[in-house]
Subunit: 353 residues, 2 copies
């Protein structure tokens, strides 16, 4: 019989450690914009509800979380955090109690949870059950979770790639970028990435198989840098950073080039954002820029897993994580994203089992 490892805690009352947002953030987030507190919690779902109660194992640090730290968000894609409440994000968790017929105690899941040791998830329909545990569980915050799907659908669906095309990836050593580059290589593209340190640039070239890479912090003229790495221009740009980099890329797009706009991390801490001046190059080059949201592809998760799991098992795709140990390290790990302190996907390990 299967071990139901959540059962030993179900029903007890714990002092639940949480990371809360103190108040809304206007520029760069700082560690002390958040605080760690404890709150009593009985590990039980309300009787008659559909909720699940989970023990959080790994939490994911993702750039979009900065957007939720601001009060006004433009539309329904996200909703802002509530000050004095735990922040939310993607994570891997284990079911401790369940009012849902879909999940039983001991099940491993990934999806949206809160930054705390235990979370009550009122609507568990957004959770994915984890069926494959021969890979590290933390991978479900990254390569096997939301960032992995972002890279996969963003590249294969939004970029419409063809063999031999020239692909540029910014924030290339991050959770999404490292995968986009590898997917592009699998497709037979020529791939160049940008990142913010020598260590990351080396990783891109030696570990992730990028054809070339550069440190954008050492290039005072991004247009010149791109012309050096793409003398014939860029067919596909996987946009993770926005601002000056996008402006330089627009000057280097080939005719009928495609830009998949995944995010613009360089702009999240600026109000107003930097102006992009070279948009007329969209017309010159008949370029397509398309924003996308990974949520729109969540119903294709199994198709994604069928592709990516064998590649991981056979070592054809590699993946690097930067794991912070303990929920207390969460705020520092999260704000580190915006100065590029992390090397690889930033994860917070809350508990191992």
């Amino acid at each position: 019989m299967e071990k139901r490892s959540g059962e030993e805690v179900k029903g007890v009352t714990v002092s639940n450690k949480q990371v809360i947002l103190r108040e809304y953030v206007s520029e760069f987030p700082r560690e002390d914009d958040m605080e760690v507190r404890r709150e009593e919690m009985k590990l039980e779902v309300p009787p008659g509800s559909n909720a699940v109660l989970v023990k959080n194992l790994y939490l994911s640090c993702d750039p979009y979380m900065r957007l939720l730290m601001s009060p006004a968000l433009p539309n329904s894609l996200f909703s802002s955090y509530t000050p004095r409440s735990p922040i939310t994000g993607f994570g891997v968790a284990k079911i401790v109690d369940s009012g849902s017929p879909e999940f039983k105690v001991g099940d491993l899941v990934w999806g949206t949870t809160a930054w705390e040791e235990y979370s009550l998830i009122a609507d568990p329909r957004g959770l994915f059950k984890i069926d494959h545990t021969d890979v590290p569980l933390s991978y479900y915050t990254g390569i096997l979770g939301m960032p992995g799907m972002t890279a996969y659908f963003g590249f294969y669906e939004v970029c419409s790639p063809k063999k031999g095309e020239h692909v540029f990836v910014s924030a290339a050593s991050g959770a999404v970028g490292q995968l986009v580059g590898q997917f592009a290589k699998l497709m037979g593209c020529h791939v160049v990435g940008s990142a913010g340190s020598k260590e990351k640039v080396d990783l891109l070239k030696t570990k992730f198989g990028f054809d070339d890479a550069f440190n954008y912090k050492e290039e005072h003229d991004l247009n010149a840098a791109l012309k050096r790495y793409f003398p014939e221009g860029i067919d596909i740009y996987f946009e993770n950073v926005g601002g000056k980099m996008l402006d330089a890329v627009l000057l280097n797009m080939r005719v009928r080039g495609r830009i998949a706009a995944c995010g613009m991390i360089s702009q999240y801490n600026r109000n107003p954002p930097e102006g992009v001046t070279n948009l007329m190059h969209i017309v010159y080059g008949r370029v397509r820029i398309e924003g996308f949201a990974v949520f729109d592809y969540f119903d294709q998760y199994s198709k994604f897993l069928d592709f990516v799991l064998p590649h991981i098992r056979e070592g054809k795709i590699v993946y690097i994580e930067d794991v912070a140990e303990g929920l207390e390290k969460g705020p520092s790990a999260l704000v580190g994203l915006f100065s590029g302190r992390n090397v690889g996907k930033q994860v917070v390990a809350v508990a191992r089992e």
Copy 2:
């Protein structure tokens, strides 16, 4: 037997009036950036060549011509004008002499010609023969020519419109905008246009059948204006102006909205262009921005004519021109585009027959 009305001039030498560009322009073009001069020309194609010699009847003033007045153009879509030579553009002309088996003396054509009374066109493969003369010949500089195809393919192909969608058109009373609005109404969309005077706004509402229209010069807050006219947001934006208008539109796009980038007339006289700050809204709304070039659709001209000619004949599409009489008026007519002086499509009538 058909009248071959070019024959009376073929072979003679004329003093050919021309509009030349004095030198490259850096900001707003002025009338005196061009000058009218005369040059002797024998009305005969070089023996053994494929060229045609035409008498120009109507010349088209189009915003893209400003781009050709600058020295450096980014790619192969256009090439810059040559200072001290006649400027070029679209026009309607009559064949006076022909070395091409495709064209005979007296044929009416439209396509790229030069701003002069007579032009030698070395490669006539880009010319379209005019077969339907029950509509005004000048229409082939607009609704039946390049701007008409721009509106048609830009709207039907690039915007992917659906019945009931909310469409915004900037520079809406211009050659392209007035047609996009009418195509959108034929498709059952809700259409609002912006233009730069009360007269133009009235035209949009009373003549072209836009559901509503506003004078952008009277709106100090374009975002607020768009929210007033599109309380539920914009599905399709046909982009003719760029800059501040695009920035405000980005704040008002609906989820999966589409922006067809046809041109950005507000930016052609600025160096550098205005910065657009709201591009992150492409991600929030999964918006697609796509640049296009009408040249890519020129092989579908007959499909376009089959659609638009019956609509003109039956009065289901109306069309307004602003005709300047005489080549001497050309420079003033052309620079007037950039201050919005024209009402409707700006044409220069060089000769009537």
